[in-house]
């Protein structure tokens, strides 16, 4: 039966090539855009190397100072944590396997033959290399000893090696950044700029920075990372961390101030920022998903309407055929089944084409270097998302025409139309 359906579908598609083309164009375009968008989001939030431990990692991305007033909560400062605050609150937390304090990346200048080279430098500690699993092309991360001794050592990425040393081995060589000399101990693969937590061109120890952790300010420019023993420990860690934050001495700031900082994933952090401006300690990721879903639906309204219109036209064209079949006793269900199979075949074909197009577009975007080091790829997660979207799309665009078809009166249908 299914084989028969598919055969009829093929005949129908070939008979009306223009319709098939227009339908395919709409489906393919819509799904390709959605796939590209999800590939980019996956690139930012997904757990690809070096963030292989992402599922077990919590980050302290933000510290907000708020003032509770009668009208509600006003934001005073929304910033990042200081190293002092992170040390105070992350030390010996139960359920935590490893912690790391990393700086924010910033631009540094070097001059090679009068040519200015700007790179992004990030100060990190030695634990960083344990929580993140970088792919080393040569050399190794800097060690705890080197870190403790304040050695001027650096791990650089492949692009930086090419800029400073050409495409040759360079471990043991030195380079200058912002007038300071560093010795290369390792070279890693490029990390895309959209991967906010690990990204940099050059990673150096905090101990090379004389100003590191020299005062008792609570806000600064640092991110804390905590590798939990398992995800089950997350609630416990959050609770303990927040209670430590609440016990911090904030008398140096405004007396009404409240300090808010939550261990969370990067995605949770973005969601919390969007939905509460960082003023609440709650989790808003569900809202973010709902918002993304609504956006997706809004984007799909027009393509779906377009396809419904085309499908209605197709059904009208075949109304006399439908009438004859009905008159000869074909049950509505069979006809509707035939139609839905056609629709799903078409949507799936569009989905496959979209996958191809998304792959090409992403490859082009990656190769132009608009977004530094971005390597957008498609993976099984995105493929499954696409299948899901295609299914929703196929159903949406098929249901209404199918319903109208099932209600079609054979007499009217035979007369050719009045649907």
């Amino acid at each position: 039966m299914l084989k028969n359906y598919l055969k009829t579908a093929w005949v129908v598609f070939m008979r009306r090539k223009f319709f098939t083309f227009v339908n395919l164009f709409g489906i393919t375009f819509t799904l390709a855009i959605l796939m590209i968008a999800s590939a980019m989001l996956d690139h930012i939030f997904g757990g690809t190397p070096p963030e292989v431990n992402q599922r077990r990692t919590l980050g302290i991305y933000r510290v907000s100072m708020c003032e509770d007033s009668e009208e509600g909560r006003d934001m005073g400062i929304s910033a990042m944590a200081s190293a002092y605050m992170l040390e105070q609150c992350m030390e010996d937390l139960p359920g935590v396997e490893n912690t790391s304090i990393i700086g924010m990346f910033w631009q540094v200048l070097s001059f090679i033959d009068n040519r200015k080279v700007t790179s992004y430098l990030r100060n990190v500690d030695a634990n960083f290399w344990e929580i993140m699993q970088f792919e080393f092309i040569e050399g190794r991360p800097f060690t705890h000893d080197e870190y403790d001794n304040g050695a001027n050592v650096a791990v650089i990425n492949e692009a930086t090696r090419d800029k400073f040393f050409g495409n040759t081995e360079c471990v043991g060589n030195s380079f200058e950044a912002n007038g300071k000399s560093y010795r290369v101990v390792g070279v890693v693969e490029n990390v895309p700029i959209l991967r906010f937590t690990p990204f940099a061109d050059i990673w150096v120890p905090h101990t090379t920075d004389p100003g590191y952790n020299q005062n008792n300010e609570l806000v600064g420019l640092y991110i804390g990372l905590m590798l939990a023993e398992s995800r089950d420990a997350f609630p416990m860690i959050k609770e303990e961390f927040i209670s430590r934050v609440n016990n911090l001495d904030i008398s140096a700031y405004h007396p009404n101030n409240k300090i808010i900082s939550v261990p969370e994933t990067f995605l949770d952090n973005i969601a919390r920022l969007i939905f509460s401006f960082g003023l609440s300690t709650g989790n808003f990721t569900k809202q973010l998903y709902i918002a993304a879903f609504i956006l997706m639906i809004l984007f799909m309204v027009l393509p779906t309407l377009n396809m419904v219109n085309l499908n209605m036209s197709r059904i009208m064209e075949r109304s006399s055929e439908i009438g004859v079949r009905k008159a000869f006793g074909a049950p509505s269900a069979t006809l509707v089944g035939q139609f839905l199979v056609e629709n799903i075949v078409l949507t799936s074909a569009g989905g496959l084409l979209a996958l191809l197009i998304a792959y090409v577009v992403l490859a082009v975007i990656s190769s132009t270097g608009v977004i530094p080091y971005a390597q957008f790829t498609l993976n099984i997660r995105i493929f499954l998302t696409a299948v899901g979207i295609a299914f929703v799309f196929g159903t949406f665009s098929g249901v209404y025409p199918a319903w109208r078809m099932s209600r079609m009166n054979p007499v009217d249908a035979l007369r050719g139309g009045a649907a």
């Binding site: 223009f18 319709f19 083309f21 227009v22 164009f25 709409g26 375009f29 855009i33 910033w106 631009q107 540094v108 200048l109 001059f111 009068n114 200015k116 700007t118 912002n178 007038g179 300071k180 920075d209 004389p210 100003g211 005062n215 300010e217 600064g220 420019l221 984007f299 309204v301 027009l302 393509p303 309407l305 377009n306 396809m307 419904v308 219109n309 085309l310 209605m312 036209s313 197709r314 009208m316 064209e317 050719g416 139309g417 649907a419």
Partner: protein, 393 residues
Amino acid sequence: MIRHLLRLVWNRKRFNFLLMLEIFVSFIVLFSVGVLAEIFVTRVKKPLGIHYDNVYTLGFDFRDLESEWNETKYNQIMEIFDEIERLSSVEAVAINCPVTFGMAVSSRNLTYNDNSVSSQYSRFSDDAREVFGIEMIQGEWFSEEHDALDWTPIVINRMLAEELFGDEDPIGKPVLEDGSMRVVGVIEDFRSSGEYGQIKRFYLLRQSTTHYSSYAIYNLVIRTHPNPPEDFQENVMDIVHTVMPDMAINIDPLEKLKARNRQFALVPLTITIVIAAFLMIMVALGMIGVFWQSITRRREEIGLRRALGSTKKTLYQNLLMEIFLIVNLGSALAAIILVQLPVIGVLSFLSWKTMFVALGFSFVLIYLLSFMSGMYPVWLATRIQPAEALHYE
């Protein structure tokens, strides 16, 4: 005839409704693009208020400005200031914090009489006028004589002058209740966010270069001769590192900062336009399909009309008119709803001008779109031979 066509469209309402809905949504998509385009075009056409060619910015990356800023730092930065000014390729150096075209903004509330508005601002030293080529439209620019004042002079842009003072002459007027800041001059609509940025209320706050103040100086702007030597940026860095060895800095042509702003503005706009264009192509192709189908289905009727005396031309016009009726219904409905939005406060940021330009844009494009999709199927319809169509059973 119009009434006849209207009845025809109405009687096919179930079928036409879907088409109308599609037009409705398309209209809203086009409207959104129109609004974006109008806003950006208006912005780009406005003057920028400053000259930025051959201007470099030198930014100091203090780790924590508040705790690190002290008199020593001030003296070091002023030493760097003087050293750079002595470079042969340099025409002028000035303080500008936060830097024009940069990411950071400062803002505060200003009050005159009972009128209070919030305004963005940036601190400028006396030489900034030379660096940026700022033109005054009223009053005077900062000068060393202002050092003796017990209030801080500011120069405001036209928009701020209009919104804070209305018709009054702003020169000499205080903008804070305690009178500690007063207006000395007015400039054109200065935009610190680049040519794609919104014109905002803005004032320039005078920064003295003769004595220490608790406001940190973390950015200088430098105007060079055209084509400075290749090692200019490196020289500047060396000067900085001689005075402040551990200071992290940024040196960039202002053009680069502006380009970044432009990219921030244009990338979302481009993506929106590309997606909207694809959607419209899809809608156009879809409509061709639907009209074509509809013509095939109505072969008999069309043949009949021809037999009963419709010329090809009349037929062509009438069929297009039918399409336009549906399109009009869909887009008029969308337009009516969209016009309500500013009234009920949803899109209150839209000016009426933007609204009507965007509506006009959408109407023109939607007509063009439907005409282009209708043209071919309708032409096919005129080719139908009445003799054949009427004997077709």
